[in-house]
Amino acid sequence: MIFQGRVWKFGDNIDTDAIIPARYLTTSDPQQLALHCMEDADPRFVGKIKPGDIILGGENFGCGSSREHAPIAIKAAGLSCVIAKSFARIFYRNSFNMGLPIFESKELWPAVNDGEEITVDSTTGTIIVSGGRKSFRINSIPPFMEQLIAAGGLIKHIAKKYNG
């Protein structure tokens, strides 16, 4: 798959309260959640993104609560994927389970500026910056996670077994 969009950079330890504050968790409607995506990290975020844009996080992105509302809000806001230096484990699991593409790269963060356009090719495992002048490798995805993506998420993956 190819993901193309502008990157929006965030620091280390962006927690799920910053991604979608708990005060909005009285609903699980993706469109409602999308309105508040990243609100406590950058209150202007939703106003400046375009469909396909990419969040670039630092270390431990998505730490804190287990709320799946966090990847749901990101996906419903129209972001195409999240790249981070590293991910907190529940956020990592949730993203694969519900179908938000996420990639790990430690090198990309210092090499791009906010708003710069990048292209991620998940098939070849590369990220291309500045019209091809710079490129970076994505950390490889474990084979089981690839199966989850191919099936369209955890529920579709196990539904075959459950209904079969």
Binding site: N13, D15, D17, A18, P21, A22, R23, L25, T26, T27, S28, E39, D40, A41, P43, E59, N60, C63, G64, S65, S66, R67, E68, H69, I72, S86, A88, R89, I90, R93, N94, N97, M98, P142, F144, G153, L154, I155, K156, I158, A159, K161, Y162, N163
Partner: protein
């Protein structure tokens, strides 16, 4: 080569004879937990997958504790959806209204989570049950849906870190201080994807309440689970509560750990974690003059009867400072009742406290104690992220119940030693 307790529990539930960190396994779950925030999505996913019946109505636990008593129409609708599902599925352990307690205080108290169990919960503080010698970990709603459907879930076997804690605790130092101190040393991703196993002569003497507080906050170091090897303290805690069989797993002496950290507990003072990360912990004696607007005593970390007794000892015949809103949240109806019998609630009322019904509301900035812009709270809770308890411009300081009670009286961050 031996195994850790975490590896042994996973091995038994995956029906394997050998296991090693990094391995992906499919394991049977003993308890699958959801609440009013996470269960609605899980129920919807369960139905999308064609789910008709949950795998075992005794093993799915649904607790309406976050935005309850219902905060608004939206939260009432979420609870209604979960209630309908729980009744249709004849879920044995469904809690709401006068039965509800904060889930991670309620499950151990009710004997639902037991030693040797594999427990998943769509709530990050599910790791609390590691205090009992269970493998317990937080997951998302889709994982909960999968577990409700099949009774199984995939896991990556974590590496284990061992924390050897020794020495006698100073006055007013509790499990909460030990875990804040540890997170301060290793950072909020210091145990990322790993198991945190707590051991040593200090741990041997810790009460179950202290162990529950510590395991509760393993997630704040990024851990998959926190765990204590069960012992006599565990046995005394569970034997009257358990209504089914349980197993004590022990770590082998030649088990392999990715890290071993020795901690001298005798040197640890009561801690305060400054905004906006649980790892910003320092000695309360070095806190400086920081005025507070609110003090919250409660939550899945520190809302147990032992915590309320400590707070009441400090608040006896004293009043919260006039500018401080003191909120006390007994974590379960049983704790509430016990606190009433022991006269603790009278002490809190006389001190000027508001006593809340059991609810997660204030801790996560949901309701029942929200902070305005620029306000500061000290809390016995587990997270102090930006906006955690209200306005993004507010601040949360984390501490033990004694520190929160003393700070309420003095109106600023303060340890109980200052009141003596």
């Amino acid at each position: 080569m031996g195994n850790t307790i975490t590896e042994k529990i996973l091995m038994a539930h995956a029906n394997l004879k050998k296991i090693e960190p990094g391995q992906l396994i499919n394991a049977k779950v003993d308890i699958a937990l959801g609440n009013d925030v996470t269960a609605p999505i899980a129920i919807s996913e369960f139905q999308k997958a064609g789910g008709k019946n949950v795998f075992d109505k005794d093993k799915v636990v649904l607790v309406l504790d976050h935005f309850t008593p219902n905060k608004d129409i939206n939260s009432a609708e979420q609870c209604k959806l979960v209630r309908k599902f729980a009744l249709e599925q004849q879920i044995t352990h469904f809690y709401e209204g006068g039965n509800v307690g904060i889930e991670h205080a309620l499950l151990p108290e009710a004997g639902i989570s037991l030693p040797g169990d594999l427990i998943i919960g769509a709530d990050s503080h599910t790791c609390t049950y590691g205090a009992l010698g269970a493998f317990a970990t937080g997951v998302g709603s889709t994982d909960l849906a999968a577990a409700m459907l099949t009774g199984e879930l995939w896991f990556k076997v974590p590496q284990s870190m061992k924390f050897v804690i020794s020495g006698s605790l100073q006055p007013w130092v509790s499990g909460k201080d030990l875990i804040l101190y540890i997170i301060g040393r290793i950072g909020v991703d210091g145990a990322l994807y790993k198991a945190m196993e707590f051991t040593g002569d200090t741990v041997d003497k810790l009460t179950m309440a202290d162990r529950l507080s510590m395991a509760n906050m393993a997630i704040e170091a990024g851990a998959k689970n926190g765990i204590f090897v069960p012992d006599a303290v565990t046995r005394e805690y569970v034997e009257k509560k358990a209504k089914r069989k349980y197993t004590f797993y022990l770590s082998d002496t030649d088990a392999v750990y990715s890290d071993i950290m020795e901690i001298d507990a005798g040197k640890i003072e009561p801690q305060v974690a400054f905004p906006h990360l649980p790892s910003n912990s320092r000695n309360v004696s070095a806190a400086g003059n920081i005025k507070i607007d609110q003090s919250l005593i409660g939550s899945c970390t520190n809302g147990r009867i032992e915590d309320l007794r400590i707070a009441a000892r400090i608040l006896q015949n004293k009043k919260a400072a006039p500018w401080v809103r003191l909120i006390v949240v007994p974590a379960t109806p049983a704790i509430y009742g016990q606190a009433m019998e022991e006269g603790l609630l009278k002490t809190f009322l006389d001190a000027g406290a508001v006593i809340s019904p059991p609810s997660c509301g204030a801790c996560l900035g949901g309701h029942m104690g929200i902070l305005a812009d620029g306000e500061r709270a000290i809390a016995t809770t587990n997270r102090n992220f930006v906006g955690r308890m209200g306005h993004p411009g507010s601040e949360v300081y984390l501490a033990n119940p004694a520190v929160c009670a003393a700070s309420a009286v003095l109106g600023r961050l303060a340890g109980p030693a200052e009141l003596a």
